[in-house]
Amino acid sequence: MAAVTLENVRKTYTGNVEAVRGVSLTIPNGSFTVLLGPSGCGKSTLLRMIAGLETITAGTCAIGDRIVNDIEPAERDIAMVFQNYALYPHMSVYDNMAYGLRNRRTPKDEIERRVAEAAKLLGIEEFLARKPRALSGGQRQRVAMGRAIVRDPQVFLFDEPLSNLDAKLRVSMRLEIRRLHNRLKATSIFVTHDQVEAMTLADQVVVMNGGQIEQVGAPTDVYRRPASKFVATFIGSPPMNLLPGKIVAPGQIEAGGGALAYDADAFDARVGAGVDIGIRAEDIVVGASGGMPFVHEFVEELGATRVIHGTVAGHPLEFVTPAAAELAAGNSLRVSAASPAAVHVFDPATGRSLRR
């Protein structure tokens, strides 16, 4: 097991496509790090550079204390699980898992022992003699993971391994991957565009946008203290509400036709400055006097909770209430933040959080 260190890594594809624009990141030994971002933001490219499947245009990538920029994938001591499984279609499940060990001239009994162990761990013992085409999607995914596990590599790389599975299977495989990590404790880097996957799996979430890192932190960190408007809206469902506002006094903001209190110690904002404020849907309360007048549009029933959609001063706003709560009818509703700590303040020009 080893840490992975990226320093100022860049990737420019032929045709001047800048897929990764200067990423510096440390993935601690034994951590489960998730690269999260919208499609096309360069997550796969970054992962493939760590794997050695793409050349690194600039910067360095180190696994452990060895810089691997010019080292072949085979010599990096990594294993990768691909989105489409990438199993060898002409080999049995056993041979698929044994292939990497045979290439490394592992003794035969050692191969047998390791494959049996991994197959047991993943519950695929009964399929060892089958060809991949005789397996379901979930079973193939397990074989792909088995192929990685038997190698006992320094680092596991996953490129959206769950996105080809149906919703239910995805949830159970997700838990299984986490359980596996708790057991094997191997450094893992997992790419996904699904924020729920990221939140549930990660020790460390790396939010990426446009080839750059927006924020690195624990799942609760990126959720509770988003470093930018992008992170605030990308993570969380429904996304964080954003409204333009103005600082009228230390700790006081005017927004959406009402007044809100924020934590003046936490944010570095000048009095008189225009800002963007963000409030999570579950941090909005109804009925406080002096709040923002809310124009109700429709209700989304989710069972345990409901999401109320509407506008304040023409800006869309959503909030969550318990299903049992009754809303006063009509347009006379006023909404506000549950506490000053629930209000996030962003620089409207850069989109960065003004948090000190």
Binding site: A51, G52, L53, E72, P73, A74, I78, A79, M80, F82, Q83, N84, A86, L87, Y88, P89, H90, Y99, G100, N103, R104, K131, R133, R147, R151
Partner: protein, 292 residues
């Protein structure tokens, strides 16, 4: 899942089969039956009498001359098949690798397929004709003895090369399609799994290409046995002194030029049996090993 149309009654399905059956009957079975019938007949030299001679025509098949033709055909077909398959595979691997200019490369390689066999033969003859051909003159200048008009081995080599050249495009297309059907991630997984380039080729690419290769093997053997007729006819006419006469050319020679329809028909039947047997063997023993 299967998509099936369900027809009521039994008449409609049979009616729908009729046109196809008629075509097969008239253009395949009828001539085949005719050939078999003909192989039992002997016409006299003036075409006045035809006698039923049972297996007399087949007895000639055991002649030394005919056995030599079989041997020659085996050598010719093996060379054509092995060379055209392996050269096409090499070219396809190169085309699969390259990104820039792959389109141009592919188009250029496909051209020979559009050339008619006889024209291909004439083209190659032009290049290798001892007194006029560009290549032949170059060879003479280099001191390499070359005369396909008189030397049987030279002639055989020449028709083999021309036949290989003609078939490469076809094989290339299929091999390239087969290579491109292998997902890139499978190669990448093998690279991460520590397989060297050569090992990757033999343990991943080659087995995955095997079904394509098997199909092409069958097609190429049939090509070498039958479709090379035009090339041979245009280039050497089977000569010098039968050095380039293959089984199919012998059928033609006996029947058309020699006027010996009975012998020609008997050889035809023998050729048919050989090809059916070869194909059956291939399907029985090789196909089982190459499907996955």
């Amino acid at each position: 899942m299967e998509k099936r149309a369900i027809f009521g009654g039994w008449l409609v399905p049979y009616l729908l089969l009729v046109p196809q059956m008629v075509v097969v009957l008239f253009f395949f079975y009828w001539p085949a039956v005719q050939t078999v019938w003909q192989s039992f007949l002997l016409e006299d030299a003036f075409g006045l009498r035809t006698d039923f001679v049972w297996f007399d025509n087949y007895k000639d098949l055991a002649s030394r001359e005919y056995l030599q033709t079989i041997g020659r055909t085996v050598v010719f077909s093996t060379c054509v098949t092995v060379l055209s398959l392996s050269i096409a595979l090499l070219l396809a691997i190169q085309a699969d690798k390259s990104i820039k200019g792959a389109g141009v490369y592919k188009t250029l390689l496909i051209w020979p397929y559009a050339v008619a066999p006889a024209v291909a033969g004439v083209l190659w003859l032009f290049m290798f004709q001892p007194s006029l051909g560009v290549v032949a003159r170059a060879m003479r200048n280099l001191g390499i003895p070359w005369n396909p008009m008189l030397n049987g081995n030279h002639a055989l080599l020449l028709v083999i090369l021309a036949s290989v050249w003609k078939q490469i495009s076809y094989n290339f297309l299929f091999f390239l399609a087969g290579l491109q059907a292998i997902p890139r991630a499978v190669h990448e997984a093998a690279a991460i799994d520590g397989a060297s380039r050569t090992r990757r080729f033999w343990t991943v690419t080659f087995p995955l290409l095997a079904p394509t290769g098997f199909f092409l093997l069958t097609v190429n053997i049939v090509y070498a046995f039958f479709d090379t007729f035009g090339i041979i006819d245009a280039m050497t006419g089977g000569g010098p002194s039968k050095a380039t006469e293959t089984l199919v050319y012998s059928v033609f020679f006996q029947g058309r030029l020699g006027g010996n329809l009975g012998a020609s028909a008997a050889q035809s039947v023998a050729l048919m049996v050989i090809i059916v047997a070869l194909t059956a063997v291939q399907f029985r023993f090789i196909e089982r090993k190459v499907t996955y």
